[in-house]
């Protein structure tokens, strides 16, 4: 019996090495399959350099005279992100409470909440925007709704995970003092998870700002819409100006939300 065990032990490292080689081989096969799938042609990058250089030369210098006309779309973009984030947070929080297994009041509610979160999360915000444009027409409102609905899913999932990972000790301690469910929730659950939820919400705002730029391409207003118009009219200097604005907006939002997140932790 001991001999059999020692033989097995001796074969174990060899078996692990074989498994690693097989895993690496599978990965290589998968990657080349993907290259084939996307019709990857590296040579086109070289031949396309002339076209790129042409666009860059036509895009310089950026047209800074567009500053005043762009103020309205810039504000619209920021407003899209604010509306979408607030809507997402307000609706995601109660859903997350129902979808967190450790605090959910009833199993059926848990599954319903998980279902809503799953659906709103799995459909991309761009698709939601197309649906809402069809429903309520062009403009920033369908974009804001799209960001809000998609945020419900993204935030709901993260919020529920935070609640599930929270320290249940204070909850149990307060329950035993005779506090009722609502008191336990406001005095133990909320203070325990609020800073993390705020951090996640700020990060979501940052994400929504980037998404709102893309949503403009499907008619949901903001800088994205202005960018699409400029590209359609071959106004590359306006395009380069708007790309600079986009870069600045995203950078400011990233830095700002990182700063605020560090303050609330």
């Amino acid at each position: 019996m001991n001999t059999v065990s020692s033989l097995r032990a001796a074969r174990e490292p060899a078996r692990r090495s074989l498994a690693k080689i097989a895993a690496f081989g599978a990965f290589v096969v998968l990657f080349f399959q993907a290259c084939y799938g996307v019709h990857a042609r590296p040579q086109d990058l070289i031949t396309g350099v002339h076209g790129m250089a042409d666009i860059i030369s036509r895009a310089t210098p950026p047209d800074f005279s567009q500053f005043v006309p762009s103020l309205q779309p810039i504000m619209e973009t920021i407003d899209l992100a604010i509306f979408g984030t607030v809507l997402g947070v307000v609706l995601a929080f109660p859903l997350a409470l129902l979808a967190a297994s450790n605090v959910s009041p009833a199993r059926p509610l848990y599954y319903v909440a998980r279902g809503i979160i799953g659906i709103t999360r799995s459909v991309p915000d761009l698709v939601w925007a197309l649906l809402f444009v069809t429903a309520v027409g062009l403009g920033p409102f369908p974009g804001a709704l799209a960001l809000g609905v998609h945020s419900i899913g993204m935030l709901g999932r993260l919020f529920s995970e935070v609640i599930e990972d929270m320290d249940m000790g204070p909850v149990e301690a307060l329950t035993l003092t005779g506090a009722n469910r609502l008191q336990v929730f406001t005095h133990a659950v909320v203070p325990g998870v609020l800073p993390t939820l705020l951090g996640i919400s700020l990060y979501r705002f940052d994400e929504n700002l980037r998404s709102s730029l893309v949503l403009g391409f499907v008619g949901a207003g903001g800088i994205g819409f202005m960018l699409l118009t400029a590209m359609n009219l071959f106004q590359y200097q306006t395009v380069s100006y708007l790309l600079i604005v986009t870069f600045l907006l995203v950078a400011i939002a990233e830095r700002g939300s990182a700063f605020l997140r560090s303050r609330v932790q």
Partner: protein, 286 residues
């Protein structure tokens, strides 16, 4: 007379430490627990059997009077913590009764259970404080069960409890830290805040489930001294589960030894021999 003594005086009178020991050795409990003068906790023939057939408690009975400090000793898995959970209503026993302030917690559910267990405070191995709130706020939360106003439902603290909470913090020697975040406290300090929170609950019975397990000897001694004072000065019935026989014999009036879900001995601390205590652990190992 301090705040807790006042509470006790307003309630049932107590008769010091003169509570007869009662082991589950076939002897009859001396009369009805609630009828006994100063009796705070009476556990009778408690059985806890899990669905998988494991019997965690097998007919445990014990009584603890006002002003008495009882320490339960026993190896891991002997049923000490299960007993604590049954007493506070976290576990529903298969059979038997847990009587506190004239009510049997073992038969109650929902709101009735919530109300009935308010005279029982539990201090766990971990202080279980809300780390981002102040020390004072944590102490005040012990009184939430008596304050069901809209303000407390929305996260506000009961204003009338702030002053008593400060007094309780003073009792545990942490008043200077009242406004500090609970998350910044050391393990020993946090456990003393947990004691203050238990006092804010205005209990008649204080249960301490391995309250010093994660503390260094000095902090452990502080917490045990504090629990002893709750019994001696405030007249509370204190039941502590410990793994430190030396602390148990130093601070307890009575020692209860448990093994395999049964009470092995229930005697005055001074009369328990070291061999009796060792047997609790040796027997488990074999």
């Amino acid at each position: 007379m301090n705040a807790m003594q006042q509470t006790i005086a307003d309630g049932i009178g107590f008769d010091g430490l003169a509570v007869p020991a009662f082991a589950d050795t076939g002897a009859r409990a001396p009369g009805n627990a609630s009828a006994g003068l100063g009796m705070r906790l009476a556990v009778r023939n408690l059985v806890m059997r899990y669905p998988n057939g494991h019997t965690a408690l097998d007919g445990v009975s014990l009584r603890v009077g006002a002003g008495e400090m009882v320490v339960i000793l026993g190896s891991n898995g002997c049923g000490k913590s299960t007993l604590m959970k049954c007493v506070v209503g976290l576990n529903r026993p298969t059979a038997g009764s847990v009587e506190v302030a004239g009510r049997d917690l073992a038969t109650l559910r929902g709101n009735a259970l919530r109300e009935a267990r308010m005279p029982v405070a539990l201090i766990s191995q971990h202080a279980n404080l809300v780390k981002r709130r102040s020390v004072l706020a944590n102490v005040c939360t012990g009184a939430l069960g008596r304050h069901r106003s809209l303000s407390t439902m929305l996260g506000g603290l009961p204003k009338s409890e702030l002053e008593p909470a400060r007094r309780f913090l003073d009792e545990v020697g942490l008043l200077p830290l009242a406004n500090q975040r609970a998350g910044t406290l050391s393990g020993g300090q946090a456990q003393r805040v947990a004691v203050a929170r238990a006092l804010a609950q205005r209990p008649q019975v204080v249960l301490a489930d391995e309250p010093v397990a994660s503390l260094d000897p000095e902090a452990a001694d502080d917490v045990m001294r504090l629990l002893r004072r709750l019994a001696t000065d405030d007249g509370l019935a204190v039941v502590a589960v410990l793994h430190q026989p030396e602390l148990a014999t130093r601070y307890a009036d009575r020692l209860i030894g448990m093994r395999s879900g049964r009470v092995e001995f229930d005697e005055r601390a001074a009369s328990v021999g070291s061999q009796q205590i060792s047997n609790l652990y040796v027997a488990h190992a074999s």
